[in-house]
Symmetry: C2
Subunit: 347 residues, 2 copies
DNA sequence: TTTGGCACTCGATAGCCTAGAGTGCTAATC
DNA sequence: GATTAGCACTCTAGGCTATCGAGTGCCAAA
């Protein structure tokens, strides 16, 4: 396929820009005016025919103008887009949200709200729960009735998870405390995935010579750590309703599929996981995500790091026709700030 | 206004039932057939005219049949509805969900999902966080860097809340433990609202003669308890997307208002709080709720109790045209089962 | 009190027309 | 050879009209 001429590129760029801004197919006449080039509509038509041959633009029907195709957006984003840095007000607003000391869960919630409010799209944040990245801090056992024990798990980054487990008998508070102390001394500061591994090993090795208290601690923590955990990473979605009201998502059936995708989380988590490996902002346009429900949407993501290590991803979802030049730097900055805020909690 | 004749009642009943089932206005002709009464359409028309005078039915336009008004639904529910008990499969399903031991948060989530799945509407559950109904169990202090302390609050019913607070200095783990012990001994088993009150009193009274450790505990717990808490009761909404696809909510603007109401939670919480006082199932039809966004919806709620005391409410939201005779007993049963499951956690 | 008959209303659907926007092609022009 | 003007053509959106069918309200008869 022939390379794009400079002029064709320029026209594609203005076409995409205008279409993003106005949502209307662009005809040769208007494009001639808006481009600033001194060309007649007829010439524009010729160029458009070329762009259509290359699969970069298409027209909804004969007498409508042209709109970008998915590929057109791709080219636009990869080589034509001029990203505007955030303006002063936005930067101030974003930074303001991250100053207050808060626990990771709240930080993540704040971030997601921020994303959806500023972009007026749906905000996504993956809550990091990867076991190999979480460091164990301490365990608490709180006795409940009927042999049930509330286990509270604290990680170094200040996250708290809890769970009720069943045991065969009631234990005294003193016993529970002793058990917790034993366990905390032994595993404090170890990565959770490692704790799991060590637990399994320990249980096999010393099951006979163990003291009662060790047994208790191990039994409970085994239930907490090893048995089918709730889930891995979790996903927070906010501002879904921002997506209603985009004419391209006006079909209620499509909208429902989209919302179901948000609720199920699985597909989105998968998508966001994929974008964790690469550094920096990643953009999935339409079908590139590989999910039917997202075929008319774009997803802009950026991983965030704590102490230099990628722990999660955040981003936004919106119609393919979204103001990328605003969205991209914003998602980027937000990821950096969230990473910074999370880093300052751990020690 | 004249009382309803038995026949008029019967016709209203079948009208509402058929309309709920089919979603189409009913004309005199079809109603004559469906009612089973041996009456001509003309007679039905006379009765319908009466019902219309009484404000119980209306017609969308001249040549459409009749549909129930809000008042018509009210009369139907209050005096005509024959509630069907749950069928065997549903009961089994509901009970199955509540057997596994789980913490309150998970129970509430399960319940909400259950509500929305079975009814195919949006499920609501108020998470009880009323301070006067929660009994303090214990506090944990976990030191983080930079003078920050992670405070974990456990209540008797097994709920865990946590929060990071700022202090002026770093405390040693031993100090923190001591402080927690001091506090837990003193306030264990006291209602949270009472702890708050006592804290304020204590701080004023003995601020000079206090030992350092008491000071520390009081200072931290003050920040946890007294300073602007997160919120009061919280609300869980699931299955919102079930509401897409009801033709009466087909307008995307309405839908958006509805979803925003779900997200904001405030109005719904208010509504559910109202229904906490009365025992048993409560039904808000259309505008009765008092909220614009819900004007074409009905809300069916039931309070649930722990140890005889009402602690929260649950329910469903759907279009006014919902199968009440299925929904009502289901909401009722679910409330009872959730209450039971929560009761078995506390001691 | 019930019913049949009848004129009337209204929404939905289909068909038709027009205006407007935009295209592709061809031939003339720079 | 690139650009442009001109023109025939296509397609949508919107307005207008006619028709069909469902259903009503009312009146007079049973």
């Amino acid at each position: 396929m022939a390379d794009l001429t400079t002029r064709a590129e320029f026209l594609l760029k203005t076409l995409v820009e205008r279409y993003i801004a106005e949502g209307q197919p662009l005809g040769s006449r208007t494009l001639a005016k808006r481009s600033g080039l001194d060309l007649s509509p007829a010439t524009i038509r010729n160029v458009m025919a070329d762009l259509e041959d290359m699969g970069l633009v298409t027209s909804p029907h004969t007498s409508a103008g042209r709109i970008p195709t998915q590929l057109g957006y791709r080219v636009f984003i990869d080589s034509l887009l001029t990203v505007r840095p955030l303006d002063a007000e936005q930067i101030r607003k974003v930074e303001g949200e991250f100053t207050a000391g808060a626990d990771p869960q709240k930080l993540v919630e704040t971030t997601s709200h921020l994303l959806s409010e500023v972009t007026e799209l749906a905000g996504l944040v993956v809550v990091p729960r990867r076991e190999d990245q979480l460091v164990f801090r301490q365990l608490d056992f709180v006795g409940l009735s009927g042999g049930r024990v509330l286990v509270i798990l604290v990680t170094e980054d200040g996250q708290v998870q809890n769970r009720i487990i069943d045991t065969e008998q009631d234990y005294s508070p003193a016993k529970l405390l002793q058990a917790a102390n034993y366990f905390n001394d032994k595993y404090g500061g170890v990565a959770i995935s490692e704790v799991k591994r060590m637990l399994l090993a320990e249980m096999q090795r010393t099951s006979e010579e163990m003291q009662r208290i060790m047994e208790l601690a191990l039994e409970m923590s085994r239930k907490m750590f090893v048995e089918p955990a709730d889930e891995g990473n979790d996903l927070l979605v906010t501002g879904e309703s921002n997506l209603m009201g985009f004419p391209e998502l006006g079909d209620i059936q499509k909208l429902r599929k989209l919302f179901d995708t948000f609720t199920a989380k699985r597909d989105l988590l998968h998508l966001l996981d994929r974008s964790m490996r690469a550094g920096g902002v990643k953009i999935f346009i339409g079908r590139e995500s590989g999910y039917e429900a997202l075929k008319e949407c774009s997803v802009v993501t950026a991983p965030y790091t704590v102490d230099g290590q990628v722990v999660g991803t955040l981003g936004v979802v919106g119609p393919t026709r979204m103001p990328y030049e605003r969205i991209i730097p914003f998602v980027d900055v937000t990821a950096k700030l969230l990473g910074g805020a999370l880093s300052s909690i751990g020690r």
